[in-house]
């Protein structure tokens, strides 16, 4: 204890003088000047004559006089310059050695000036040292010549400053260019990074959709609109006569019938002409390539983002050794001068502290592991049962609806007609809260709980997707049947017409039948039907989600807020309360919405544009809603820094939505009278056609070889091998990473331990020293001795958890010679802190190796 107080006194002594020092900025610059100027030293002392300062010049002169007087003074000043030969009386020819020595000394002093500011000396001492050093340097820098560099240097400093400022502005500009960054930061500061991660995901999705939109509109929609045939020129671009009366009705348009159905929004509008316009744009080919390219691009982007996020790493969680202290001491930004920003900063600091506290509490939790495991298994079993049950329910309902579809429509009640939708929405309503309740059993960290929740609801929604696709394929097959009959009928009619015409006019030159485009008999065009289904789904999804926010959040918040004045219980704290932001629901909504876009974009090119609009409005709307009507979660938790779990879900959905589209492209025949592929056997025939007709023959040959199974099999094999190899390599890296991390942790612990146990290791040294016959072998650091208190605790040998080599070694040594230091008769006062060791008071060796053990006083 005694040592500590003494030490503290010393500390105080050392710190105090730091007040009221001279400005360091100036000094810093100064030293730089000198360093810069040093280069021009050899230019001679003439420069010094030109120096503006009289005072200095006189000093220089004095110095020079000293030099002139003789070697004595010089030798004293420059101990290395004794070899100087011909410098007598001639100032301009200092010898090399002299200059070198001078340089050395000047350099030393400069170093002193540079580091002076960091020396916790008393103010007076500091000033004196500074003055001495400065004078010395001024003298000799002057003597060695400088001055010319000054202006240049000043200019340079100005330029560096300007450059720094420019860089800063540029950074600011870059940040300002990130869309919605401020909005998201604001949300993050109040609701934590988990909610913000949803908005970041939304923004990313918006970017992706913008690119898809660019592809779709630039390469498909615009060429068709600009260069293709106008509306009303052919049958597929005209509303049929039967529908024309109601084609502009709002109810029809709202269902995407009427003019909407026969517009560029849908597949059927596009013409199958091989090339259009002046540019000879191959629209059908472009349509197919864009349709497939959207998938390719999305896959690439998702995977690349995942890889990058994985590099940035981090599962949230651990941030290194100083999470809390860094947060405490470096989180306030001293630049903040705006009250509003300050408020946000307070909120964000509080939130981030809460996040870390949740993590920490989670780490500290120690409970019955067996019970926990049992509960987790139980919860999973229950949820699996739920999922299985709802899966079976969906299967059952879909099967029943197929039976109903074969029956007469009039016999069915309203419920029976809408059974599938009803069951689906019921499941969507009941299951997520149920899962959440069951997940309480598991008692995971909220971040992990969110992942489980996402995965489970995802599995549930897959059922949704399944029913939807099932219904769609039923519809498509039905339409294909109808189309086949219509196609046969039209062909028969056309043949009839040709036969009649040629027999009537007795000519083989038959003009095409003159029918108005709106009267042409046409097939059902299943592609447009599918497109309309998707668009309708998206629109209704938007409506539902926006209404949910409006009612479930906004209306609720308004009621809770204002009815609270006249209600029997506290609405804000009690039952309804304000809503929380539903992260899992929103993320999954976004993911499935994107899946619909990917699937539907091929049949409805306008869908991508619609989605861009949706995401845009959704961003503003949800940001507003969350700030205005929601309260932060009870346990604000830190999201994992990489949004990779969301990305993984997205990738899965992307893959799932890829399947039906590729299936239709590869197997189903396109409609005969609508869309860019009409008249082809299969959609991909346009590619074959292009290869055959437009590309040189050898490319066709190459293509034939490339599609040869003999070539494909080895390629696939090679790919599998490559994947295997890369996987192994990455696993190796991961292992290495882990090892390094562990080593770092060990080194850190070691360091901490060493500092803590410095006394104990030295204790061993002491004991060794005492055992040795010649004590002088041990170097001076042996002076370090523990405070007397520690010695007592040590002799008892009851150090809990004191592991490590040092201590063990000590044990052995002391076994060999039990307490050999007993009779040491040194004055206890001398056993103080070592003079050169500023590392605070060192406690005894009893401190354990692990973190967090209480000190033993």
């Amino acid at each position: 204890m005694k040592t500590r107080t003494r030490h503290r006194g010393k500390e105080g002594e050392r710190r105090r003088p730091a007040k009221g020092r001279k400005p360091p900025g100036g000094k810093l610059l100064r030293t730089r000047v000198m360093r810069r100027v040093k280069k021009s030293q050899t230019k001679g002392k003439k420069e010094a004559e030109r120096h503006p300062k009289r005072r200095k010049r006189s000093r220089i002169r004095r110095r020079r006089e000293e030099t002139v007087k003789g070697k004595k003074g010089r030798v004293k000043l420059f101990p290395f310059s004794s070899s100087s030969s011909s410098s007598e009386g001639d100032e301009d020819s200092l010898s090399e050695g002299e200059i070198a020595a001078l340089k050395e000394q000047v350099e030393e002093k400069k170093k002193l000036i540079a580091t002076l500011r960091n020396k916790p000396w008393r103010m007076k001492r500091r000033l004196v040292m500074l003055k001495e050093a400065q004078e010395f340097v001024e003298k000799f820098e002057g003597a060695l010549g400088k001055g010319k560099g000054r202006k240049l240097y000043a200019y340079k400093v100005m330029m560096t400053k300007k450059l720094i400022k420019f860089k800063r502005d540029f950074e600011n500009f870059k940040t300002a260019c990130i869309p919605w960054e401020r909005k998201i930061k604001e949300v993050e500061s109040h609701f934590g990074s988990s909610v913000a991660s949803y908005f970041i995901f939304l923004r990313w999705m918006y970017g992706l959709n913008l690119v898809l939109f660019g592809f779709m509109f630039g390469l498909v929609v615009l060429p068709e609109v600009l260069m293709g045939l106008p509306y009303g020129s052919i049958a597929r671009k005209t509303v049929p006569r039967a529908e024309q009366d109601s084609a502009m009705d709002f109810s029809v348009l709202f269902d995407f019938g009427g003019y909407c159905k026969y517009s560029f929004l849908f597949y059927g509008y596009y013409n199958n002409e091989r090339t259009i316009g002046l540019l000879q744009f191959r629209l059908p080919l472009s349509y197919l390539l864009v349709g497939v390219g959207i998938f390719g691009y999305s896959l690439m982007v998702v995977i690349r983002t995942m890889a990058r996020n994985a590099n940035e790493g981090g599962d949230g969680g651990d941030e290194g050794e100083f999470t809390f202290s860094w947060k405490m001491f470096t989180s306030w930004d001293y630049l903040i001068g705006n009250p509003e920003t300050a408020d946000n900063k307070y909120a964000s600091i509080t939130t981030s502290f809460k996040e870390s506290i949740v993590d920490e509490q989670e780490n500290q939790k120690d409970e019955n592991i067996h019970l926990r495991r049992f509960l987790r298994v139980l919860a999973n079993v229950m949820i699996l049962c739920c999922l299985g049950g709802s899966g079976y329910l969906i299967y059952f309902v879909v099967k029943r609806s197929q039976e109903f579809a074969e029956m007469d429509n009039d016999d069915l009640s309203w419920f029976e007609k809408n059974e599938v939708e009803f069951v689906m929405s019921l499941l969507g309503l009941v299951c997520p809260p149920l899962f959440e309740t069951i997940a309480e059993l598991e008692d995971y960290h909220p971040r992990i709980a969110l992942k489980w929740q996402l995965g489970r609801i995802f599995a549930l929604f897959l059922g949704n997707l399944y029913t939807f696709l099932f219904a769609l394929f039923d519809e498509v097959t039905a339409k294909l049947e109808r189309e086949k009959s219509i196609k046969n009928a039209t062909e028969w009619a056309l043949n009839q017409y040709y036969a009649n015409y040629s027999s009537f006019y007795n000519t083989t030159n038959v003009p095409p039948p003159d029918v108005h485009p709106s009267d042409v008999v046409r097939g059902p065009c299943w592609e447009t039907g599918v497109g309309i289904e998707f668009v309708k789904l998206i629109v209704s999804d938007v409506q539902v989600s926006y209404l949910t926010i409006l009612i479930g959040d906004f209306a609720r918040a308004v009621i809770v807020r204002f009815l609270n004045y006249c209600w029997c219980w506290d609405l804000e704290a009690g039952f309804p309360s304000y809503g929380e932001f539903d992260i899992s629901g929103n993320v999954l909504g976004l993911v499935f919405n994107q899946g619909m876009i990917w699937m539907g974009a091929f049949y409805a090119p306008g869908l991508v544009g619609l989605n861009v609009l949706r995401l845009l409005t959704s961003m503003y709307y949800q940001c507003w809603a969350v700030m205005a009507c929601n309260v932060p979660h009870e346990r604000v938790f830190k999201a994992s820094r990489s949004n990779n779990f969301y990305m993984g879900l997205l990738l899965l959905v992307l893959f799932l939505s890829l399947l039906p589209v590729v299936y239709t492209i590869m197997t189903l025949p396109p409609s005969f009278d609508c869309g860019p592929f009409s008249g082809q056997e299969k959609m991909y025939d346009v590619v074959m056609e292009t290869i055959d007709q437009d590309l040189p023959a050898f490319i066709g040959n190459i293509f034939t070889y490339a599609t040869n199974p003999g070539l494909i099999m080895p390629a696939v094999l090679l790919m599998v091998l490559a994947i295997y190899y890369l996987n192994t390599v990455s696993k190796g890296y991961q292992q290495a990473n882990l090892d390094l991390k562990r080593k770092m942790q060990m080194a850190r612990d070691e360091e901490k331990n060493r500092r803590n146990n410095k006394d104990s290791t030295n204790e061993v040294m002491k004991d060794l020293e005492d055992l040795l016959p010649n004590k002088s072998l041990i170097p001076p650091p042996i002076e370090e001795e523990p405070p007397p208190v520690e010695k007592n605790s040590k002799s008892t040998k009851t150090k809990p958890g004191s592991a490590g080599k040092g201590v063990n070694l000590q044990k052995e040594v002391s076994l060999a010679a039990p307490n050999p230091r007993g009779p040491v008769t040194r004055a206890p006062g001398a056993r103080g802190r070592p003079p050169g060791n500023p590392r605070g008071p060192q406690p005894g060796p009893g401190r354990s190796r692990g973190r967090g053990a209480p000190p033993r006083y």
Binding site: R4, R8, E11, G12, R15, A18, K19, G20, K22, P23, P24, G25, G26, L28, L29, R30, V33, N118, P120, Q134, A154, V157, I164, F322, T323, F324, W326, M328, F329, T330, S331, W332, D333, Y334, I336, G337, Y346, I349, T350, F353, K354, S356, I357, E360, Q361, E751, K752, R755, N756, P838, R839, G840, P841, Q842, P843, R847, R851, G852, P854, P855
Partner: protein, 185 residues
């Protein structure tokens, strides 16, 4: 450059070692002057001894929103009460400028966070810091937890409080310390 001659003598500037940053100086002097025009003379050639009280300096827009503003001013004033002479004023902003080295910043950051001026960051200091940072939004238990964890993380010598060595060791590794611990003026 013309401005400086009217305020400081050449000798003074020489002593300050600020020939290159005299612009900065005159600007700072301007700021200092406008805080209390009736107290601070425009002419600084004869080194007048005047000090501005804490209440005036704390109201500068640069410091106004800072939760530690009182501590900042106090730790730069020689008497510890927050009265700043012009020298100390300059000192404050040069330490908080971008040019100041990390070590120096660390020393002053330590002083700022050391509320009870005992040269250790003990638990009470941390609690005060935390309450200022979060506007006392955290519950006492949470504050307790955070303070304990912070000490546990940074305390190398196991005395349950942070000495400057501990603090420096921790702060020099902090990624945003330099970017957050500075004020532009």
């Amino acid at each position: 450059m013309g401005n400086k001659q009217t305020i400081f003598t050449d000798e003074q500037l020489d002593a300050y070692q600020v020939r290159l940053v005299c612009v900065f100086y005159s600007r700072l002097h301007g700021r200092y002057h406008e805080l209390a025009p009736h107290l601070v003379p425009m002419d600084y050639t004869n080194e007048p001894h005047c000090k501005l009280p804490l209440a005036l300096i704390v109201n500068m827009p640069e410091l106004k929103e800072n939760p530690f503003r009182n501590r900042i001013v106090e730790s730069f004033s020689e008497d510890g009460m927050g009265n700043l002479s012009f020298n100390e004023f300059v000192d404050m902003f040069s330490v908080l400028s971008e040019m100041a080295p990390r070590e120096l910043k660390a020393i002053y950051a330590f002083k700022i966070y050391d509320f009870n001026v005992d040269n250790y960051l003990c638990k009470e200091d941390l609690e005060k810091t935390l309450n200022k940072l979060t506007k006392e939004e955290l519950t006492p238990e949470e504050v307790q937890l955070v303070c304990e964890k912070a000490i546990e993380e940074a305390d190398l010598d196991g005395d349950n409080k942070l000495s400057f060595a501990d603090f420096e060791n921790m702060i020099t590794r902090a990624p945003d310390f330099l970017s957050t611990f500075h004020i532009r003026i």
